[in-house]
Symmetry: C2
Subunit: 386 residues, 2 copies
């Protein structure tokens, strides 16, 4: 037991991480204790002599539960003081060194409201993004400008046609960066102009979302440029720029853009069942904590291997109540086709951003008509609803 004096160095608030631990159940208690040390003091238990650190800072194994598949669930709590105010350090406590341990997976992260007050979360969230595109009661339509190698002028022409067809969000393909064939600033200006021209013709509120990812603080600079040029959202890949950079964009009062999180370079966290971070945590909980307003992920039945249950976990984590963090849009994509729109809406519901890229290009060359067909599929559902 520690004295009150020692207690006063650290606050009482703790957060919990639920880990799945593979391997024999009789080793689980030892492994859980090792994780609790590894993620905090990172030294042998017997060397830690300070009573306050022992009581508060060393992770605490709260519960061990056998799982039906033979693995175990270990709930470990950490002092919020170990994470402090930096999102990067929170992630470090959750899974910094332990990410290197095989057979260990983060299944849940549970943050107390007192700690969550340090975060604003999504600036726009679902309601704010709906306001931005002027759509109240149906799924939002999203598509991507491609292929890489096209000029800014060509991409802007595509943006125009898609916006004319009624797409709500026209985003850069995630591989458009600042290449010579379509430099960032030139591309942003042209695509913004193209979408605004279409909006004047349609009376709609399509927004263009450029990819602002770049090394270091250049990401913030590009986001600010995009906002200044009239872009209505931004595409961010925390796998490439870090969750902390996305957080910074979400807090920046100069940029003030809805953020579409994209999963590129995050795949290794979810490419295995026994390690990494659970889909809902990575693409839902952490996305919201780091300020994403929509979270793009590869839906089941497309070019990637996510299972339906994993996709539904993302959908649910995007809106489950977490203190003041606004609900965000799950944005299934990754090889979705028009023919599956009714099914996807049945499965995910209407509070999604539905991302269809390649299939709009494949279905004949009239992109505006293809976009309009996409829109009709969503409108049809809305009007046929009770």
């Amino acid at each position: 037991m520690t004295s009150d004096d020692e207690g006063s160095r650290f606050g009482p608030d703790r957060f919990e991480v639920v880990y799945r631990i593979a391997g024999p159940p009789d080793e689980v208690e030892t492994r859980a204790k090792q994780i609790a040390l590894e993620q905090t003091v990172e030294m042998p238990d017997e060397v830690v002599t300070d009573a306050g650190i022992r009581q508060h800072i060393i992770g605490r194994v709260e519960r061990l539960t056998p799982l039906p598949d033979g693995a175990s669930s270990a709930t470990i709590s950490y002092s919020v003081d170990a994470a402090g105010d930096d999102l990067t350090q929170l992630l470090n406590v959750v899974f910094g060194n332990s990410s290197i341990q095989p057979g260990l997976r983060v299944e849940d992260v549970r943050l107390p409201g007192t700690y969550l007050r340090r975060y604003r979360g999504p600036r726009f969230g679902r309601a704010g993004l709906r306001d931005a595109v002027g759509v109240k009661d149906r799924a939002l339509l999203c598509t991507a400008l491609k292929p890489m190698g096209s000029s800014s002028e060509e991409l802007a022409e595509l943006a125009y046609r898609f916006a004319l067809g009624g797409i709500d969000i026209v985003k850069d393909d995630h591989g458009l960066a600042n290449q010579s064939f379509a430099p960032f600033e030139e591309r942003v200006e042209r695509c913004v102009d193209a979408v605004e021209r279409a909006n004047r013709e349609t009376g709609l509120h399509c927004v263009y979302a450029p990819n602002v990812c770049a090394p270091g603080s250049e990401t913030l600079r590009r986001a600010r440029f995009a906002a200044g040029a009239g872009a209505g959202a931004a595409l961010v890949m925390p796998g490439l720029v870090g969750f902390g950079s996305m957080l910074e964009l979400s807090l920046d009062d100069t940029a003030q853009l809805p953020l579409l999180m994209h999963p590129a370079f995050l795949g290794s966290f979810v490419a295995q069942r026994e390690a990494g971070i659970a889909h809902g945590v990575l693409f839902g909980t952490l996305a919201r904590l780091a300020g994403a307003d929509a979270s793009i992920f590869p839906s089941y039945g497309g070019r990637f291997a996510f299972e339906k249950s994993e996709c539904l976990a993302i959908r649910d984590a995007a809106s489950t109540p977490i203190a003041q963090l606004r609900p965000i849009f799950p944005a299934p994509g990754g090889g979705m086709i028009l023919d599956r729109v009714p099914e996807l809406l049945d499965v995910y519901g209407d509070d999604i951003v539905l991302l269809i890229g390649g299939d709009l290009y494949r279905n004949g060359h009239d992109l505006t008509r293809n976009a309009a067909r996409f829109r009709d599929l969503l409108q049809a559902r809305t009007t046929s609803a009770p």
Copy 2:
């Protein structure tokens, strides 16, 4: 074939990525072609009509080779124009969306010298870091300040004792960020003072390396503060802040600090044999490209599960000639103990930073004596060498 006109939109230079593809050999050609599309145009092959994009931008399957274990090796080349000048976009082309594909692993990244000219690489490298600590001919000694929860004053006292014992690099434990118990700026100032005080007594050149990781551009701000306060190096975790943030630090003329890369939150890339990024590429090639001067990794035989061969791959990738990129120090750690120093030097050689943390705390309470014993183990080898 394309005309000269089309060719002129894109340069001829290409880089190669070698992927390991799990699964039946008869599916490998199809999978390789899918990767080549996924990582570039991200749309069905038949929809890409532009001849220049088809010839230059779509990834090109160069070689397919069966591997002894039944998997296959696929070498795919990409135009350097697809990556442009941004390191983040290079990583995106290498493994952005494909990271989400199960059974796919990056085994090698081969960049032509013409492209590498866009990178400075490590500012210091081995020679520069040796100069900084005044050590010509032996492995460098590194230890960590811990445990988390200690005050700045306590950590500074540890730094003093370690420096007094002859440690070359005293780094923050990677879990020290900007917590209330040891705020970043206060900690940096106190630890710098402590190490300078010890250096005055010993005549040695110990450097203190604070952890500068933070959300977004705050990382750069902290590195600049650290440099201004007199820190001699910085600890960076690209898993948390992105490789692009490390690159930015390496290029920053205000900070100008040797960078110690730490593997936290990168583990999911290497926690599986069939997916992710090969150890040498992640902790060697990409570390150098992004400007690290030393690359910390968990050595075989410690608390983590790296195999000896994987560790040697990191060692080799840290120094294999890559255009003008300086060789850097592999820095094995993660549960190393003093008793293993001779073995580790035999295996890794003397061009390493040897990181021993917890064991220095465990071996009695006289940290200065423990550090001196660590130093003696390295000196003994140097003096006994032919």
